[in-house]
Symmetry: C2
Subunit: 337 residues, 2 copies
């Protein structure tokens, strides 16, 4: 459930309202509204089943002149699989509802589905159905991904405790650096750094294997994926866990190469979004064993701070040890209103 | 998976292509692309789980000036629950991905979800998650509904045999008659007939209880819901079952009152769509027992013809016994291109 779009504070408010208004217990439901995915427990099933939905709209989430149909397909499924990764689930199936303007060619459609199918296959998820509509506006893509737990071990946003060490996988702000290139008209480049940033933006790699390992390991108290940037997502995890956090800005794994094209790497890491890395918390007592056990060939992980007892407050600690409150802001990619 | 929108023949072609290109066996999957819902079999689960997705777009599927947010909500979930009804599944959960223009009020959003929740509750389905986006164009609603079988008895489109009697529930062409009223600017009326047509259009009642009973009864070889009109949907059932059909036009349960406002009731029944009634086939040998057993207080059912061995051919038999081929056509509700 990435929340990278505009009206972000409104959106949090609406979700809260839906949660209050429509949540009810059911023997078949482990977890409803309010996490990366819902968790169902089919009767007598060995495993939980997880469901997540994401919608992507032309000119809000992608632009046809900046990308290819394969990339749109692969990104559409990747953002959904990332939600399953964030709970530690194994991707299994997905459905695609697609609305297309009349001018879209059959070739475009096939390339789009090939992009979907490639990334789905890579992570074990199979297309099982959907809907096709005509759009008199832009392209709309809505995907629902379905995953299976392993031994019913899933990780929620809500298990974090004060004192837990806060980790992220990979590098933050790289996708946003790629977007900056696109915004300045540089969609083709031979530079390795620029290529890397563009790739991160076009074809994010959902951390399914890592999320599964983390959930199985038993070291992780809470987890989510970073879709809207640390500044938007970390407060959500804190709210769900009833804790606060402090983050050492100097320890955030930024993408320093983006300064070559005029970006502030720290700003992109905090506010850029669309990295689809994992954010998770490990109890201090398990930390050294966790670090010893974490597989060497997995994505890098970085301890960026810790959870605190100051409920709802997220602080940034600068290199001069100065504290400042983290501002919750994302940016709307195509319409700086 | 209603197919009521434009480019209908293209759409059948694309779905066929997806089916050929991306279908692969999985031990957890009973049925993938090509029916009203996909059917999953979680390991050791007592039941199958069914998944279906439908997208509704402003000015394609609904118009804000013709309807209320509650009606949009209730129709959005109803069309999905109808797909579950068509397989005989019990609705359990649903997710909602929603894209909204900035001008939509919080009040509108709450009324919309109240409409969803009312119909969901009526049929035992609970909201468990979703996505909220900004749209820079119209409203987009994409719902995924999840149902559970009872004793693993689900009915596919594909089990029909030559000689089976063809049945429909309820009345056909009533929703389209309501749409005609809206198109001619008559959204308020005191006439009972007109009210009934408008209600059928705004708040279709998915046949969940009937679908479940039919699947449990063991009398039904194949079933689907009528979302695009008999002329579009019956050929799909015939294609899936590898049979043909003949329909006695005089026996189709039309909505004759629509002639009062200039409609041709038969034409609306064949080509109008959005009735969300069930179409199903009963073997001749079981027919009399079926008719005796079918509950008296359930929606009316009507035998409208039979399946034949003439694969892919659907004939209409007029009251003068003349045969003519049924033309596959739907209509695009808001844009007669």
């Amino acid at each position: 459930m990435p929340k990278k779009k505009a009206q972000l504070s409104d959106e949090n408010k609406i979700i809260q309202l839906l949660q209050q208004r429509y949540t009810s217990a059911s023997r078949l439901l482990e977890k409803g509204i309010g996490d990366d995915a819902a968790v169902i427990h089919p009767e007598q099933s060995r495993e939980y089943w997880l469901i997540t939905t994401d919608m992507l709209l032309e000119n809000i989430d992608f632009r046809l002149d900046w990308t290819t149909p394969q990339h749109i397909g692969s990104k559409s499924i990747a953002v959904n699989l990332s939600d399953l990764a964030a709970m530690g689930a194994r991707p299994r199936f997905y459905t695609v509802a697609l609305a297309l303007p009349g001018k879209i060619s059959e070739h475009w459609i096939i390339e789009f589905y090939d992009g979907l199918n490639k990334v789905g296959n890579d992570h074990g998820a199979q297309l099982i159905g959907g809907d096709l509509s005509r759009s008199d506006q832009g392209i709309v893509i809505s995907i629902t991904a379905i995953g299976e737990s392993l031994k019913r071990k899933v990780v929620y946003r809500s298990g974090g405790k004060a004192g837990d060490y806060l980790y992220v996988t990979g590098v933050l702000g790289r996708s946003a650096a790629g977007l900056k290139l696109l915004q300045s008209g540089k969609k083709n480049t031979r530079s390795r750094n620029r290529r890397e940033a563009l790739d991160a933006h076009h074809t994010p790699d959902p951390r399914c294997g890592t999320g599964l390992w983390l959930a199985q390991s038993g070291f992780v108290n809470c987890m989510m994926d970073l879709s809207d940037g640390l500044s938007m997502d970390l407060p959500r995890m804190c709210a769900a866990s009833g804790v606060g956090a402090q983050v050492r800005t100097g320890d955030i794994p930024v993408f320093p190469e983006s300064s070559q094209w005029g970006c502030d790497p720290l700003e992109l890491a905090l506010y850029g979004g669309e990295d689809y890395e994992l954010l998770f918390a490990v109890p201090k007592s398990k930390n050294s064993l966790f670090l010893k056990t974490y597989p060497k060939d997995f994505p890098s992980i970085t301890n960026i701070g810790e959870l605190t007892g100051e409920k709802g407050k997220v602080w940034l600690i600068g290199q001069n040890k100065m504290r400042e409150r983290l501002q919750e802001k994302g940016f709307d990619h195509f319409h700086q209103r």
